[in-house]
Amino acid sequence: MSGPGGPGLPVGARGPGGLSGLAATRALAALALVRAARGKALWIALALALLPVIVVSVRVGLDHDRADVWRAAFELSLLTLPIVPAILIGPSLADELEDRTSAYLWSRALPRWSIVVGKLVGLAPVAAVCLTVGLATSWLVAGGPGAVAVADAWRGLGALAAAGVAASAVVAAIATLVPRHAVATAVVWLLFVDAPVGALPIALQHGSIGFGARAVAGFGPDAVTGALTLVAVTALAVALAVRRIARME
């Protein structure tokens, strides 16, 4: 049976004299990480994630209720969710497919799924860290443990990190579907489809990253449902990306 490793290369198999899936994933993750560290996108993402701190500082200066400030900081950080993963993961995967440099990777004896998973393993944590650095700074500016309980802060940070990973997986799936307009489509999807659906009181919201993040952070009905939503969206998006890349010419 031919798995997502590519035609004639079953899942988990090692290519003729090539890397195992795990080794290839590790190598591609390291490469993606090095490229991200050398590029501008990482710094833009970090600067963007820190923008909510300005609003938080103003609200603190106006002596707003700290619980409201924390909620506002979380919502503003969610606003950066469509962009941070899109500019980190989108170009990394889409450029490879659009510029046809993926053909060189196809010619190597490595399973195709390792390309998607490798990029995600390398860059999704970076997106999550960027997002959480912004929210953690906002928490400190809002007054730290004296204003918002440490447990609540951890919950919020964990929720945002998980949402960042889920959004990264969605961006990877979109990049394999529409490599030419990967960044634009990912931003539009997360901003105009995922975010409004997550805010609506309808059953469909259970498929939204925004809903999942709010629920896990304690701003939604049920943290377990929110966590399941994030896991399901991530798994579905990764599966879609892996399947799509396996079928590419």
């Binding site: 590029g39 963007l48 923008l51 962009i83």
Partner: protein, 304 residues
């Protein structure tokens, strides 16, 4: 043996190269070069299925839906409800409220075409070819801005003008129709401001980065998070500051000119909105002109 005759003098200006052929195509005056660049920009935007066509279709659908609301208002059932005091006055509200939806379609166009345009030319090394010919940076800037403005006008002006004409057509009397003709200049003001701002601003961001994807990310960051953060601060401290958000500014001008009262929305005053749109557009044009002039200097004699 007599001496060889001296060679016949060559005619000046003759090139002795068998592969050379004198350019026989159309020769355009330099003042029209921007039109060529504008047409190329429009052709590029129109070429594929996903760049601009879906968003123009979305704008057309918004127009149809808003027109439908206008028409329903003239239905006798709705008129009866209105006479009973029900708050269903959509006939005059549909047009200004539709701008909020046109803004979303316009943002899509900026993401698929506007914010990537100049960065794509930088990425592909197209400047070497542009400026090796008698194309001045000014021609390039005017051509790109005009092309982008045409695309934006297709979203911002065509639909609202059609709605204004429809509103005039729905008038119950010729006197009302004459009154409603006043909608047209108001639509032109709002759509003109929106077109200029949404054409220039993404191009400026596009000129700032040599990578298309980074330019797209920067534009999305500015539009979604940057101005939203400032607008939030404006809503908390000083309302005119909220006008930095181009979408809020366009809505503020539309609501003011069409006399729509939205009590729950914190909107900046119209003067601040107009000033913000004009200033941001002017700053964007200045950035584009400056960056393109510098890129032109660096491109001529370079390699692609």
């Amino acid at each position: 043996m007599s001496a060889a005759p001296p060679p016949a003098p060559r005619a000046p200006g003759v090139i002795h190269d068998l592969g050379y052929a004198r350019y026989a195509g159309e020769r355009r005056p330099p003042s029209t070069l921007w039109r060529v660049i504008m047409r190329q920009h429009l052709a590029h935007a129109w070429k594929t299925r996903w760049r601009v066509k879906p968003w123009i279709l979305v704008a057309a659908l918004i127009t149809v839906v808003a027109g439908g609301f206008m028409y329903l208002q003239t239905h006798e059932t709705i008129r009866a409800l209105e006479q009973m005091g029900a708050p269903v006055r959509m006939l005059d509200g549909a047009l200004p409220l539709a701008y909020d939806f046109y803004l979303k379609a316009a943002f899509m166009v900026t993401m698929t075409v506007g914010a990537a345009t100049i960065a794509r030319d930088q990425e592909s090394g197209a400047f070497t070819f542009y400026f090796a010919r008698p194309v001045r940076p000014l021609d390039y800037v005017v051509g790109k801005l005009a092309g982008q403005a045409v695309l934006m006008a297709a979203v911002f002006a065509a639909g609202p003008l059609a709605l204004a004409a429809f509103r005039v057509g729905l008038s119950a009397s010729s006197g009302e129709a004459l009154d409603q003709l006043g909608l047209v200049p108001r639509v032109l003001v709002v759509s003109g401001l929106a077109t200029v701002a949404y054409a220039a601003m993404p191009l400026a961001v596009s000129a700032l980065s040599p990578r298309r994807t980074v330019a797209l990310g920067m534009w999305a960051a500015y539009y979604i998070v940057g101005v939203s953060a400032v607008a939030t601060i404006g809503a908390l401290t000083w309302a005119p500051l909220a006008a930095i958000d181009p979408a809020t500014a366009v809505n503020a001008v539309a609501f003011e000119l069409f006399d729509v009262q939205i009590t729950r929305a914190v909107l900046p005053p119209a003067w601040a909105a107009i000033a913000s749109l004009l200033l941001q557009a002017a700053a964007a044009v200045a950035i584009v002109a400056h960056r393109v002039a510098r890129l032109a200097e660096g491109s001529v004699g370079g390699s692609s």
